[in-house]
Amino acid sequence: MSSTQAPPAAAHVAHDDHHDHPAHLAHHFDDEEQQFDAGKLGIWLFLVTEILFFSGLFCAYSIWRHEHPEVFLYSHYYLSTFWGALNTCVLLISSLTAAWAVRTAQLGDNRKTALLLGLTILCAFGFLGIKSIEYGGKFAHGTGPGKFFNPHPEHMIVTAENYTVLVGHAGHMAEGRLAEMQAEHPEEFDALFHESREHVLEEALAAKAASMSTEKDPVTVADLSDAVRAEVEGAIDADHAAHGHGFEAHAAPEAHVPGAHGHEGDVHAADAHESSAEVEHSRIEKAMLHHESEVVLSEYEERPASVRTFFSIYFAMTGLHGIHVVAGIIAIGWVMRRAMRGEFNPGYFGAVDYVALYWHLVDLIWIYLFPLLYLIH
């Protein structure tokens, strides 16, 4: 208003000093340097407020990770490191083009500035696109934020690509617990072992029957003679006696593949060529371990409130960051338009500089979010 309306007579004095003002210099600044410095301090202060704004979320993150480390470990396997890393690269490139645009604006090359800002916007849209793929996956698996957290069990346990790692982790815990049980409650451990042994024995007998069968003369387990039964049983027990419980010997549990309930199928296949006591024994332990792993995994499933907190924090942090990306696109679009109009020159390029600074901060926040959410080990 002040600059557009012709001031009445008395105000002329005040205006007269500024007839030499270039058009891009606001009336209340003395010179270009003062205007640039004011804007620069302003944007830095604004960035400080932005950092403080995110600090609340980082603080909540720290508290929850401290209180529930296992939830974070468990949940982060459901985030895709690949997409996250790709997005990090996209943002880093966009920061480069933004910084480059500041330089070209400073040199007065408005065409190149507009081009580089356009590339920055393109990267920003790329980031949002990748993010929406990730978000879509989360909602499809029922791992949305808050009340949208309603995971389908098969997605939580079996079909996720990280199943192997996850079960490996559960196996580690199961192994520790079995060893603990063996030391502290030998009779319970023996009972569990016995139960597994019965199971293995049944499988071994079935395998034996199958191996004795011919097409004409099928042999069932019931047809096996007592002598054959005793032989199979003796092999298992001999192995048992030879190796003791020896659970600790098996340090690394084998990774279970998705659909681990097909375990028995594997037993048959293995039994076809080998039936050494060694294999029998390891099979018993594997069966026990599998049983225990499922217990551990099901315990994870029993903590939906905390797991949902992870996804809530994930969505809150990345969502707020995403809003900032959208704001960045608008701001960069605005300076790009101004560059296309040729408004910038060596004495006036502040707007590009400020917007680029903001964009670097958005980038930097992602640089923190990526390891904090995706790379938890």
């Binding site: 208003m1 002040s2 309306q5 001031p7 009445p8 007579a9 008395a10 105000a11 004095v13 005040a14 205006h15 606001a26 009336h27 209340h28 600044f29 003062q34 410095d37 004011a38 301090l41 302003g42 202060l45 604004f46 400080v48 407020t49 932005e50 403080l52 704004f53 995110f54 600090s55 609340g56 979320l57 603080c59 909540a60 508290i63 934020p145 808050g146 009340k147 949208f148 409130a305 905390s306 949902r308 907190t309 809530s312 924090i313 969505f315 809150a316 707020l320």
Partner: protein, 573 residues
């Protein structure tokens, strides 16, 4: 300098510059106000807006006090409000509106916007568009509060404590009110950011940091808090909204969240916000005391630095709101100790004000009466704060009327008194008109009486165990409640007189001189009201408190400086 045209003859009257063009008549029409970039008009719009909010919040307070005039049962029982739920909404909206819509923006955004650039000797704040935007955000925030009122009423108290704010009866009211506070937070951040940049980058030649008037120091310290604390409130309220809407489980204990975390976040902002409320008030009083004691301010650097110290200390004491929230004993002890440290810079200010008045020529003009009222009320509010900062006594006094009385003494006795003092002080500059001193002083004293009558009995109530926020009470408390309610109406009378006085001044007040009080800060060196660009000649900057050269000139009812007038007349001819 001063010329009036009377029948074609130029009459030179030193000390009066009735410039034909001033910021009020520079352009016309409602739009020229609503979309102005002129800091003075934005300041005036803020003043009107925050006073409207104050009126609304005041009515809620009167509803609460009227309800509490008698218990709901027994002899002489009385129940005005339809239910306890409505009562809860009354005090919640009273608190939220007063804090977020009135007190926080009152001095910085309303008076600060008007005065800061002129006092600094510049044409405007660094970012005039941002300044206008922050006013528009205020309007938007206020609209959200009205929406909360319309959608079932907020009943959480102004603090929005979880878990109640997550399960209280009206989701839309909680979300509307917290959205409003969130938006107002950004309004406050942008004002603070603007002031910091203006003070850092736009000080004219000669205006060194230690030549800045103390009001600007106070606004600077305030702005630092606004910029550093408010974003945390922003994210807290945002999380609360998301928690209420989507049940994300950050604050909600039934989902594994931590309600005490909300308290930490909330007070991390809201305790420093107490200093957003009182620092600008102290800064105004620092201007008033020197001017109306006709003496150079005593201990300029100590007053300036104590503002900064309060701003810094203010960030480390938030835990004293949570002594009974299950905070660890160690944390409570540390917070208690840090809380006492705030008393040091606060006391430095009071000592310097008193020393400035010592052997001064005290003129009991309306602004000075408010300044003295401020010192009295702030002393009571501050000292009772020590009772609450002490762990053992706080356990007894927590959530009683004692704390209600304490923070009203600080926020109303502090901020409102300073705001009214400042409003009367700068009124001649803002409106160009003089108000009636007689009515002004009388209104101030009536308000002071009413205020003390309202809140002093509440110290008694609280120490005897009357809890805050209760709809009903035992008959033994009634005498104090009756005094308190009577006091509230006396305060109302005082405030109505203030409004009457200021409105009447615009209708039939005398033309204000450039410098009605004999102060040496730069805003008194331009005409009343100021021209559109604040100064017709760039003023020379000197010691802002060098006021002894000013002489009272009865013909204009203002002050002139003979040496300066002579120089100017010489320069003119």
């Amino acid at each position: 300098m001063a010329t009036t045209q009377t029948a074609g003859v130029e009459v030179h009257r030193p000390g009066v510059t009735p410039s034909k063009d001033n910021y009020l008549n520079h352009s016309k029409g409602l739009m020229s106000w609503l979309f102005t970039l002129d800091h003075k008009r934005i300041g005036v719009m803020y003043t009107i807006a925050v006073l409207a909010a104050f009126t609304l919040g005041g009515f809620f307070a009167l509803a609460v006090r009227t309800e509490l005039a008698a218990p709901n049962t027994g002899d002489g029982a009385w129940q005005m409000l339809p239910s306890g739920a409505v009562y809860n909404q009354m005090f919640s909206l009273h608190g939220a509106i007063m804090v977020f819509l009135f007190i926080i923006p009152s001095i910085p955004a309303a008076l600060g916007n008007f005065v800061l650039p002129i006092m600094l000797g510049v044409k405007d704040v660094a970012f005039p568009r941002l300044n206008l935007f922050s006013f528009h955000l205020w309007i938007l925030g206020a609209a959200f509060f009205l929406l909360a009122l319309a959608t079932g009423g907020l009943d959480t108290g102004w603090t929005f404590y979880t878990p109640y704010s997550l399960e209280g009866h009206s989701t839309s009211a909680v979300i509307a009110a917290t959205t409003g506070a969130f938006v107002l937070g950004f309004s406050s951040i942008f004002t603070g950011l603007n002031f910091i940049v203006t003070l850092h980058k736009m000080r004219p030649t000669g205006m060194t940091w230690f030549r800045m008037p103390l009001f600007l120091w106070g606004l600077y310290a305030t702005a630092v808090i606004q910029v550093l604390a408010t974003p945390v409130l922003g994210i807290t309220l945002l999380l609360l909204i998301v928690e209420r809407a989507f049940k994300i489980g950050i604050f909600d204990p039934s989902l594994g969240g931590d309600p005490v975390l909300f308290q930490h976040f909330f007070w991390f902002y809201s305790h420093p916000a107490v200093y957003i409320m009182v620092l600008p008030g102290m800064a105004i009083v620092s201007e008033l005391i020197g001017t109306f004691s006709r003496k150079h301010i005593f201990g300029y650097r100590f007053i300036a630095m104590s503002s900064v110290a309060i701003a810094i200390f203010g960030f480390f004491v938030w835990g004293h709101h949570m002594f009974t929230s299950g905070q660890s004993a160690l944390a409570s002890t540390v917070f208690s100790g840090l809380t006492f440290s705030v008393a040091i810079p606060s006391a430095i200010k009071v000592f310097n004000w008193v020393t400035t008045m010592w052997k001064g020529d005290i003129h009991l003009k309306t602004p000075m009466v408010y300044a003295l009222g401020f010192i009295l009320l702030f002393m009571i509010g501050g000292v009772t704060g020590l009772f609450l900062g002490t762990l053992s006594t706080d356990i007894h006094l927590h959530d009683t009327y004692f704390i209600v009385a304490h923070f009203h003494y600080v926020m109303v006795g502090g901020t409102l008194w300073a705001f009214l003092g400042g409003l009367h002080y700068w009124w001649p500059k803002i409106s160009g008109k003089m108000y009636s001193e007689k009515v002004g002083v009388t209104a101030s004293l009536i308000a002071l009486l009413g205020f003390n009558l309202t809140f002093f009995p509440q110290f008694m109530l609280g120490s005897q165990g009357m809890p805050r926020r209760y709809f009903d009470y035992l008959p033994e408390f009634q005498a104090y409640h009756v005094w308190s309610t009577i006091g509230a109406y006396v305060l109302l009378i005082g405030l109505v007189m203030v409004a009457y006085n200021l409105v009447m001044s615009m209708i039939k007040g005398k033309q204000a001189p450039d410098n009605p009080w004999g102060s040496n800060t730069l805003e008194w060196k331009c005409s009343s009201p100021p021209p559109h660009h604040n100064f017709e000649h760039q003023p020379t900057v000197g010691d802002p408190y060098d006021i002894e050269g000013y002489v009272y000139e009865p013909s204009i009812d203002g002050y002139v400086r003979p040496d300066e007038a002579a120089v100017e007349t010489a320069g003119r001819s």
